[in-house]
Amino acid sequence: MRRLLLLCLAICLVLPASAAIPGDLDGDQTVRSDELSAAILTYLDGRYQGGDAGLTQQEICDAAYLCEYHDGRAWSVTDTSGRETVLTSPLRRVVVFNGETIETLRSIGFDTTRIVGVDKYTSEKTAFFPEFTDTANVGSVWSPDYEAVLALRPDAVFLYGTTSKSSCDGIQETLAASNPEIRVFRFDCYIPGTYMQEVREIAEITDREEEAEAFIGFYTSVMGEISNKTAGIPESERPDVYFEYWHDYQTVSNGSGYDEKITLAGGRNIFHDESGSSPEIDPEAVIISNPDLIIKLAGKSLEFGGYKGTEISEFKTVYDSLTARAGWDHLSAIKNGRVHLIHSDILGGAQHFIGTSYLAEWCYPEKFQDLDPHAIHLRYLHEFQHLEGLTPDEAAFTYP
């Protein structure tokens, strides 16, 4: 028994050494400047002066990075799943499984040439992710291509935080089993409640705190303005909103992200209390509740508009079929012209703040007269996503 304890103790002492910081000579987990100089000389000696190979080029670069950005110490970050990861080197070869995280990395100015593998949905979005058309395709979280991932020799992999938990947990476990050196990070990057926190954490991982603060400032200026103006409004004065999915009479209730965005925009989803996050609803219930505002989602199953920009005329067709529904001519929303279509490209994902500002504008036209969601959209694309060439028409995302 005692021997076992001693063995365990010995192993515990040895373990930190295996996660040692390159360049740390005295084992104090810090690379001081004198240690750094010594490490540089050791490396140069091994590389150019015929000495023994002491440090590899990657190790000395890691040591330099740590000295420069983290006072020579390893730094730790907690991701959305609550897991804490200790980092001793920068991210050089990154595989990202969710497009929302890629978007966020772009927003904080991460060097996208370091992203060596993307998921298949990102590969397909050639308009929005032009720089990744030739990047390796690693499948999706529901069917990941492990061979492709491992062949890319990544040092970091990004997965969803809370969505598709079992699939992502499976990927995380499999990767850890084959190569524990790969650091796995779990971030959703599309949930309004956690997005800003995630941006900060990702900035900590990639040391882009400055750019992240600029982006956070932009995002909070939009969402903050909306919440400030809608905060004090009591439930009874909020506009009743009927939100319809791609399918007729399929709506959203609590538990759905779209319901959350309606609430953030200051509206009241009339089917908020129903069970199931996207239930099919009795058409009579819509007529009886006489909503003030009707919003229909376009995109995915209603394949038009969005960044692909195809068949924008379909917006009008769907709109007309909505207003032509039997008995809907009595609805106040129809009479007041408060029926809108919005594309899921800007209401879901990392761009939800753009869609939410449209929703706020439609809920309270007078309060948000100065809010210009299209300008916010373009600023996001040009300034933060660095897609200067992409200037989509507003008509591709909302109607009327």
Partner: protein, 351 residues
């Protein structure tokens, strides 16, 4: 036992069957009357009926616009469609069980429902189909269902039209189409998969007066024909040799019956998705009460199917109102316990 007693007993049986049929009609009318008043619009019972009458005879009663719209544009066609669909599926199931002499025969076992699902999946995932716009899924489902029927017919003709060949061909097709559907779901996005699954659950919500008219027309042609040939069905149910010896053209009859059943099933399923159990369970329930004579069995099981489907749909609409549960789930929850009850209660007689 002398002739008089036999005659009495037979008359008694006939009376019981007719009573059953009439009570079924009564139940159906009652259920229809109740279903029409169910809904989230909060209309009173009187209002609903007045709206119906006002729609048929305009000007007779003062009814609010809202009530009339609700009843005529949302409720009534759904109720009528449920009745017609239930009738059609049950009748098709009865015919199939009759000609295949197999208690498990139903539109599902012959692969027709699976083919319709496959067609719908192709329309949803690949966007490819024969009709455009909103009839993309419907057109695909219908044509694929008929395709399955034709394949079974073709295979049976090649191997000789017997119940065994049809069932084997049907099972094979069922697995094939299910595999294709699964493959499409595998390659589809999460949304498309959800859509396919929702379609396969079945829903009465997609009904409209046009669809009611289409299904009604098909039934109006098919059911009288089946009633006329009900005696042939009885003979076929006894066996191929027996039927042949009674002068029935076995192969031709089987082909015609199968095609009619497939057509009815296809036209119902393509509009409302694959609704299981009606075609399987309704004939069995009826048979336990009325016996195997198709002259009674056919209309009775049709009515039982209509009652089942209408009851299931009404429950699906009201249990979690205003959320609507897919009707296919409800039919299983209603039909199966009832079926088990009857099954336990019956004697050791043959199915």
């Amino acid at each position: 036992m002398d002739t008089g007693e036999l005659r009495q007993r037979y008359a008694g049986i006939r009376r019981r069957r007719i009573l059953f049929l009439l009570s079924l009609v009564g139940i159906l009318i009652l259920l229809t009357g109740i279903s029409v008043t169910l809904g989230s619009a909060g209309l009173s019972v009187g209002e609903s009926y007045l709206a119906i009458i006002a729609g048929i005879f305009p000007g007779t009663f003062e009814v609010s616009d809202l009530a009339e719209t609700i009843v005529w544009d949302y409720r009534l066609h759904r109720v009528v469609f449920a009745v017609l669909a239930g009738f059609g599926l049950a009748a098709a199931g009865t015919v199939m069980q009759g000609i295949l002499r197999n208690p498990l025969a139903s539109p599902f076992t012959l692969g027709i429902a699976s083919a319709a699902s496959c067609g719908a999946a192709i329309a949803i995932v690949l966007g490819a189909g024969f009709a455009g716009g909103e009839y993309l899924v419907v057109g695909n489902a219908f044509l694929f269902a008929l395709l399955a029927a034709c394949v079974i017919y073709g295979m049976s003709r090649y191997h000789g039209m017997s119940s065994e060949t049809m069932i084997l061909a049907g099972i094979a097709l069922m697995y094939l189409f299910s595999a294709v559907t699964s493959l499409l779901q595998y390659f589809g996005t999460a949304n498309q998969v959800q859509e396919v699954v929702f379609w396969m659950f079945g829903s009465m919500g997609r009904s409209s007066w046009l669809k009611v008219a289409i299904v009604g027309t098909v039934l109006a042609i098919a059911v009288p024909y089946l009633m006329l040939r009900a005696w042939d069905l009885n003979a076929l149910a006894e066996g191929d040799e027996v039927a042949a010896s009674l002068g029935i053209p076995v192969e031709r009859s089987m082909a015609i019956f199968m095609l009619i059943a497939s057509l009815v099933t296809a036209v119902v399923i393509c509009f409302c998705g694959t609704i299981g159990f009606i075609g399987l369970v309704a004939p069995h329930i009826t048979r336990m009460i009325t016996g195997g004579d198709h002259r009674i069995l056919l209309p009775a099981s049709g009515l039982v199917g209509a009652v089942l489907l209408l009851g299931a749909d009404s429950l699906a609409r009201t249990v979690l109102a205003p959320t609507v549960i897919p009707v296919g789930i409800m039919t299983a929850f209603i039909g199966v316990p009832f079926f088990i009850y009857l099954f336990m209660r019956r004697g050791s007689s043959r199915w």
